[in-house]
Amino acid sequence: MIEAKNIIKSFEGKVILHNISAKFYAGKTNLIIGQSGSGKTVLMKSLVGLLRPDSGEILYDGRDFLKYNSSDIKDLRTEIGMLFQGSALFDSMTVLENVMFPLLMFTKQSYAERKKRAEFCLERVNLKGADKLLPAELSGGMQKRAAIARAIALNPKYLFCDEPNSGIDPKTSLVIDKLIHDITHEYNITTIINTHDMNSVMGIGENIIFLNRGHLSWEGTKEDIFSSTDEAFNEFVFASDIMKEVKDYVNRGR
């Protein structure tokens, strides 16, 4: 479990995150949602350590990594996998080399062992046969899957996904969502997903926090969405006609 306690983060005097406290559970897909500019990315970057909060605590299973020295942080990072918005695959390496990279850097495995593990991860994300291709030769969805394979190569305890569905079609988005969801449950990973894709929210939102202008405005599960009374949350979630229709349909059934 990852726990954020009273996180405050500002840039040049402008407060972006206002005293955020939230829990992200192991074996669940935890979603951070909100409009553009609501502070989602800043929160995720703070959680993962790419930004340092002005104050607060970030506990990885009780370990406050903000108090860690650089060597401890390095150890903790080997327990973290991250899927970036643009996949962030190393473009000079093949798909297989990308997946093998964390194993090369942080294990003492032989080449054969690393290759076996990488091939297993690629198979897990249905990318068998793409191992010799360069990232530029892959479609957007395949790149995301390759990035997931790289993120799980070291058997991470924590998985961060920044806008995993950006730039890919709805059908592929479903595949990516299902993959993240399945992997989370299969390996009991604490997965945190930063998204504004309502399909993801409705599909895999097992624990959702909603940020509104840097404030934590709502939290719950996908089942709680239709009973929310938070105005900003409802405005965000039911912005599209289709979601309004779904809400009417659900309300009619109650």
Partner: protein
């Protein structure tokens, strides 16, 4: 006045960030075997790939220096072996180190800056950091060590080819006898000039690789900013090379 102040403080701050980045770069590599492999790759990319351009430019400039020297020697009291001597001095003292470094700042510097800059804007550097890899050390140190250790080879190739360029003018035209040119090359030869050129090139290689890496590593934005960073890297490293050239010449000669 305010503009000048801002300019000075901005550049001081930038220099501070450059020094801090170097602090991150010059640490123990996470894995020596990976570092060594990357070092070899960079020697190939930055060094071997530059041999053709160094070869071509040097041979032509050597020929041009010899022709221009011959054209400017009008007095019958100046012996023709002077052409070889002057070509040698020009090639050894300035061309093979400084001018070649300026050319490499354009070729290698822009390549380093755009490669690292693209990695920055496509979040590949963030990916390294998240994994726990010291991205500055992983990406930049092999480039610095590769260029600094390979530049003496490039300088030596440049010297040989530059001097050969002049020789070919003597050999294939009737402007001056090539035997006199070779005699001129050997006359009043000071071995230290070769070392002087190589010593200067080591400093220049350090400047090219670190300045280009700094601009690439600290880029923010997208493709336009990567392009601008690449241009800035070339401009700043070229000016720094020229300033260092003056300083090193004063110290070494």
């Amino acid at each position: 006045m305010k503009l000048i102040k801002t300019f000075i403080f901005d550049n001081l701050a930038k220099f501070g960030r450059y020094i801090m980045l170097l602090g991150k770069v010059f640490t123990r590599p996470d894995k020596w075997s990976v570092f060594f492999k990357r070092y070899i790759d960079e020697v190939y990319k930055l060094g071997f790939d530059s041999i053709a351009i160094v070869f071509t430019i040097s041979i032509f400039i050597g020929a041009v220096i010899a022709i221009q020297t011959q054209k400017n020697i009008t007095s019958p009291f100046i012996p023709s072996y002077t052409i070889g001597m002057l070509t040698r001095e020009t090639i050894l003292l300035e061309f093979s180190s400084t001018i070649m470094a300026l050319i490499l700042a354009g070729k290698v510097g822009s390549s380093i800056s755009s490669e690292i800059g693209t990695m920055r804007v496509t979040e590949q550097i963030d990916a390294l950091e998240i994994m726990g890899v010291n991205s500055a050390n992983f990406l930049i140190l092999p480039k610095i060590t590769a260029l600094v250790t390979f530049i003496p080879v490039l300088v030596t190739i440049s010297m040989v080819m530059g001097l050969l360029g002049g020789f070919f003018v003597g050999e294939f035209t009737d402007m001056f006898p090539s035997s006199k040119y070779i005699y001129g090359l050997q006359s009043y030869f000071q071995e230290f000039y070769v070392w002087y050129s190589i010593i200067k090139s080591l400093f220049f290689a350090f400047v090219i690789s670190t300045v280009a890496s700094f601009y690439g590593y600290t880029v923010k934005g997208g493709a336009t900013e990567v392009g601008k960073a690449s241009t800035d890297a070339v401009v700043v490293s070229s000016v720094t090379i020229l300033l260092l050239d003056v300083l090193l010449t004063k110290i070494l000669l």
